[in-house]
Amino acid sequence: MSYHFGRGWAKWTPYLLLLPGLFFYFLIALGPSMATAVYSFTDATGIKGAPVHWVGFDNYREFLFMGRASVDNLDALKRTLIFCFIVTFVQFGLGLFVALIVNQNLKGTNVFRTIYFMPVILGVVIQGLMWSLFLYPLGGPVAKLLSLFGVRSEFLGGQPAEAFAWVTFIQIWANMGITMMIFIAGLQTIPSELYEAARIDGANSWQIFRNITWPLLTPSVNTNLLLNVIGSLQAWQLFYVLVGYRNGTQVLGYLIFATGFGQTSGSVTTSFRQGYAAAASIILFLLVLVIGMTTQYILQRREARILE
């Protein structure tokens, strides 16, 4: 069906109405992204007025192949993928499980939905502050609890693997509410008649979930998986707030921020290297693109199979 807005120049109105949106999309999203791609081939510092030189693939070469630093960069890349894998699947599973529970017609489900969703609205700084206090090693609540079993830990400031695990857990806690809400929205679109018919036919709970809920939740599953994959690949803010720039905990997003903005330790001076950081950003972008597109391709094929 086509809609005619008028004749003559008036037929162009819908396109012109799109202009402000397109303008801001170019200004805020596409423009900076393209500029980042160009910057990645320069030695730009990000300082207004500083000279910028074309350096070809030097930044990429340095990031991927130069000395031990490139091995550390690849370790950060690996860590990012591990973080993405754990966050995506645990957050997905937990979000679905909680959504199924709070979607039942029981007393108090609204209260629980609010409680589970609450971390989402807190913001990264508040989330970080809260967990820093929970995990305070000198008599914080978790330290006290562990001390009952004779266990001591430095938590976020101790072993890098442990700090990384805590940040992963907090990332899931902070964002599980969104996953849950998307699933609840999906669950509420499933007609109740289907469940009634299945029960009359004698289907048990697992059969109902497997043959009705799961296939009809496909759009929510796809949305959640894509959001989780892309969100976790780009995540770095909680690492910044909770752990800081520490060996063995950096993910690619944080590495880019620290490099681009001359992240320092105390008063130690470093250089601003936004050209180099832009190259790292493009590598992260390619990673997100490949994983995101692959995920989408798999999900679309699955959806098509279910709808057949």
């Binding site: 807005f5 008028g6 120049w9 008036a10 109105t13 012109l16 109405l17 202009l19 402000p20 303008f23 801001f24 200004l27 510092t45 990000g46 300082i47 207004k48 007025g49 500083a50 340095e62 130069m66 000395g67 031990r68 630093a69 490139s70 091995v71 550390d72 820093s132 305070y136 090693p137 000198l138 008599g139 914080g140 330290a143 001591r152 430095e154 938590f155 976020l156 400031g157 101790g158 072993q159 890098p160 693997a161 800081g244 720039y245 520490r246 060996n247 063995g248 903005f261 001359g262 992240q263 320092t264 330790s265 105390g266 008063s267 130690v268 001076t269 470093t270 250089s271 601003f272 290297r273």
Partner: protein, 448 residues
């Protein structure tokens, strides 16, 4: 409404939106039209945007100073922002680039590229100067109050002054709790062995030996810089030696340092120190619960504020068994002032620095923050001043103010005690020393 009319109105709205978005932002009008004579009060109402880093006694002093400044100059309003020290360079760069700052706090110029360093980028202060973002202060009248050496070493580039440094600090010393030392009949340690004995005594009495604000990361390893200093007192030469290969992080001399650093991290530092915020550490020490606190002289006002009756002392970290090796205090040039080159409020900014530099105001500043003054007429009135006075002739700029890592060096190419358990993953000094040297060598080889 006809379709044509609706289309026309829609188009007007669209173009109005585009024009509004393309229009230049409102320019600050305050004080930007006619500059007043240098150092004099501007004729118009001016808002002076000032940026400082988080250091509670310094921020408290600045708030008081700003209040008095505004009373004296009612047509100048101070809008002061405070950022974490780790974020100062980032915020300075973005606000300078956006022309959104007039006066900024800048650490003493350091980490400059040396002739023996290859393929290193210029430090951020040099990048800012070369981009024309910092004002040339050469010839300003208030510079006469400051040490010529401080102006040259910590705020000049290519013969021009771009920053006024406000004081030196030491970070290689240790605060000690006098009451606890007296109570356990312990002598204030002047050697490494005495320090180890003192810590063992405290630990046996269930008293943590040392604390630090480990949540900020750097306080854990900075606390052990005295160990580095007792082994390598000439830290500029150490940096050159590391770059040229005459010193290695896994040679016999360095191994002694790593072994001691492990004792520091594992046995001396209290469990849980990694969770203590940098701002909270002086309070924990002043509570009397801990015997020692390795840290910078800038913590002294916070200790006094937390518990004015608390009795403490400050000594160089005794990293060697030869007391002669422990006579040095290592440190840096700390906070300084610079002015944005493109400030529309040049006169107000110069007036602000001029007032601040007035010897009476400056004396109040060093009294408040505990800096070792860079104005020769200022006195060390504070307790921390008295504590460091005997060591001032042996004051030296520390390693991390000289060090620039070669590109391609690994992330462990630093002499940091925090690599050891429980803060890091290592518990074998030899293994760590090899790893640190390997990470450094990878960078040196990459830039050959």
């Amino acid at each position: 409404m006809s379709k044509k009319m609706f289309s026309l109105m829609s188009l007007i709205v669209v173009f109005a939106t585009l024009l509004a978005a393309c229009g230049s932002p409102a320019t600050p009008t305050e004080g930007s039209s006619q500059p007043a004579p240098a150092g004099e009060q501007p004729a118009q109402q001016v808002t002076l945007r000032v940026l400082v880093h988080q250091n509670p006694p310094m921020v408290a002093f600045m708030e008081e100073f700003n209040k008095k400044f505004q009373e004296k100059h009612p047509n100048i309003t101070i809008d002061m922002s405070v950022v974490n020290a780790n974020d100062l360079s980032t915020v300075s760069q973005t606000r300078l680039s956006a022309n959104d700052i007039d006066v900024l706090d800048i650490f003493g110029f350091s980490n400059a590229a040396q002739p023996y360093m290859k393929q290193v980028d210029p430090p951020n202060w040099q990048q800012l100067i070369e981009a024309g973002l910092l004002m040339d202060l050469t010839g300003q009248d208030f510079l006469k109050y400051y040490d010529a050496s401080a102006l040259t070493d910590a705020g000049s580039y290519n013969g021009k002054v771009y920053a006024v440094n406000l004081g030196r600090v030491s970070y290689s010393g240790v605060y000690y709790n006098k009451n606890l030392f007296n109570q356990y009949n312990l002598k204030v340690p002047t050697t490494w062995s005495e320090l180890v004995t003192a810590c063992e005594t405290f630990k046996a009495a269930n008293i943590p030996c040392m604390t630090a604000g480990g949540k900020d990361g750097w306080p854990i390893f900075v606390g052990a810089y005295g160990l580095l200093g007792s082994i390598y007192p000439d830290q500029a030469a150490l940096v050159e030696g590391l770059w040229t290969g005459t010193i290695k992080w896994n040679d016999e001399k360095s191994l002694e340092m790593w072994r001691k650093m492990q004792v520091y991290a594992r046995d001396m530092m209290e469990e849980g120190a990694s969770g203590i915020a940098g701002d909270a550490a002086p309070g924990r020490f002043a509570s009397g619960a801990v015997a020692m606190f390795p840290g910078g002289t800038w913590y002294a006002p916070a200790i006094e504020a937390a518990n004015p009756d608390f009795e403490w002392g400050y000594i160089p970290f005794p990293g060697s068994d030869n007391p002669e090796d422990n006579k040095y205090l290592f440190g840096k040039y700390d906070q300084g002032w610079a002015i944005a080159a493109n400030t529309p409020n040049k006169e107000a900014a110069l007036l602000y620095l001029s007032e601040f530099s007035d010897p009476a105001n400056y004396q109040a500043f060093v009294d408040a923050v505990g800096f070792i003054p860079t104005q020769p007429t200022a006195k060390l009135n504070t307790q921390i001043g008295a504590e460091v006075a005997p060591y001032l002739e042996n004051f030296r700029v520390g390693y991390e103010q000289y060090w620039v890592a070669p590109k391609g060096a690994g992330q462990f190419a630093n002499p940091w005690a925090s690599y050891f358990k429980p803060f890091g993953t290592y518990d074998d000094p030899v293994e760590l020393a090899n790893k640190v040297q390997e990470d450094l060598q990878a960078g040196l080889d990459a830039v050959k």
